[in-house]
């Protein structure tokens, strides 16, 4: 049974630049125009970085400064080969950061909550890291039995990559694990499985 009205599922709002920030860093798991993912960048006086995942080895993550119109500070853009590449670079950046950074992440839930977890571990407050969903609804699923995370789940049932159990994907979401809970669907009567539906396109 898919419990659909569980309240731990995050609700997202559109991103908007936090005027209290002294430096802003916007992260997107796909190439998207900056103005489409966040409001308030036009008049931003504080330095702003925009990092995207280009999903190709042809990019090298070199910063590209770009003059902004009017009084706004320049935007520094970087393109990464994959989300892992971006997160690795982010961990170095967060280790050097001081008070005043505002972090914004947009993309699939697995990506944005990985960013939120790194931010938390680096000491950022929840009010200093903002998330918004974009793209596929596919999920990361944490197997409650063997603790393996299976990624890219689009269906109501998923086979655990760790223990092979057929997991029902509950709507229960853990920000700590950046994943939804998966529970064996046929634990009571092995082999008795409900029909598989595509529910997270």
């Amino acid at each position: 049974m898919l419990i659909s009205d569980i309240k731990s599922r995050p609700v997202y709002e559109r991103l908007s630049l936090d005027g209290a920030g002294r430096r802003h860093l916007v992260l997107s798991d796909a190439p998207r125009p900056l103005g489409e993912v966040i409001d308030g960048t036009d008049g931003a006086g504080a330095p702003l970085g925009y990092w995207i995942v280009a999903a190709t080895s042809a990019v090298d993550a070199q910063p590209q400064a770009e003059a902004a119109p009017g009084n706004a500070a320049p935007v520094e853009r970087r393109a990464f080969r994959a989300a892992s590449h971006l997160l690795d670079r982010l961990s170095h950046r967060l280790a050097q950061e001081t008070v005043g950074l505002r972090l914004y992440a947009i993309g699939e839930e697995g990506f944005i909550w990985d960013v939120a977890r790194m931010a938390r571990e680096a000491g950022l407050e929840p009010s200093e890291c903002f998330t918004a969903h974009a793209g596929s609804l596919r999920r990361k699923v944490f197997c409650v039995h063997c603790k393996t995370v299976t990624s890219g789940v689009t269906t109501s049932l998923a086979v655990c990559e760790g223990c092979g159990a057929h997991l029902v994907v509950r709507d229960h979401f853990s920000r700590t694990h950046a994943a939804f809970m998966g529970v064996q669907a046929d634990a009571e009567a092995p082999g008795e499985l409900p029909a598989v539906e595509e529910v997270f396109p």
């Binding site: 731990s8 979401f173 853990s174 634990a187 009571e188």
Partner: protein, 360 residues
Amino acid sequence: MTIQFKPDETFRDDFRYSNSDAAVLRFPFPFPEDAYMYSVNIEPHVPGGATPAFDNPFDVDEHYVAECRERAQVLEQDPSRCKVLPHMMAAQWDTLELLMESLATSYPAHFTLTREGTSWTWENRPLGIRDSFTFGDASTLPLPPFEYITRQAQGDFTLQDQRDDNLFIDAGMVTTQADWSLDFDVGMSFHQWHGPVPLAHQKGVFDRALKFLLRLQYGAPVRRLNWTMTVNPRLDTSPENYPQWGPDRTTLTAENIGQKLHLRVELQSLFRLPRSNAILFGIRCYLCSIEDLARVELWGKRLHRVLRDLHPEIADYKGTTRFREMAVAYLAPFDDGAELPAGTAPRQSTLPPAALPVER
């Protein structure tokens, strides 16, 4: 008072577990009315209630020694059943102090706490433990303070940190749970960890409960009862081990359901802690077979009515779908349909050997 412990009991495999007549009569039966629906149902946790299970801040009964051994077994399999986030050290010591003080006061025949400044000595005679340590210095205890003391108590415990007008489940010892995972839920806010409960969100139960708990005062603990049903006297009905206990639900028959199906009641208590301002949440689990419960006339009749008329979504969430009708059929012969007094006290001081069918 000296308690006769039953150290050979088991809560898995051969299920060597039973309630003495006295243990049945002290069961914290959770249904004051013939129908059940979610409510906040919180009352002051003061000594005294419908049965002696409410007489002390932390109830110890005949299953104490066996339950502590079961906890140790679960932790050996899966240490992540005990998790404490790093900022919870003050709350760990608060917990240790509250449990030691309470147990020593309630059960002086079994537990002794000697305090001289920060030099403390703790004696737990049923478990054969005697440790001297410095209060506030974790290096002087064999285990971190929260794990040390909750290994010596019945029932699960969680610690809720209070910040941003919310409660966060930032620590826990959870080995006797009704299908929820501390490892998954740790760090969640109040509404997040209650996410999977049906109906209650829409009724505003959690909004009201959170508002109430944020104002919980030191020295004024509160309690409530919660319940579910468990096949076999199994304490570890965790989601982690669902593949191990889930199949139990398919083993019930009309012949064995009276002995195998247990009403599982949680006596939940909430204490504001003095140093950390955190809340200690005790989830004390009681198991009683429906065969034994029916020996208390009022309880057998009422349980029959509650299960018969249970809201389908609650019946499903509590995992009773496969066997509810069978349980209702088992209990029906003991219910004459007569009007029952409100309340949960057993209203009898002895038990017949078995419940007798009544005339309708």
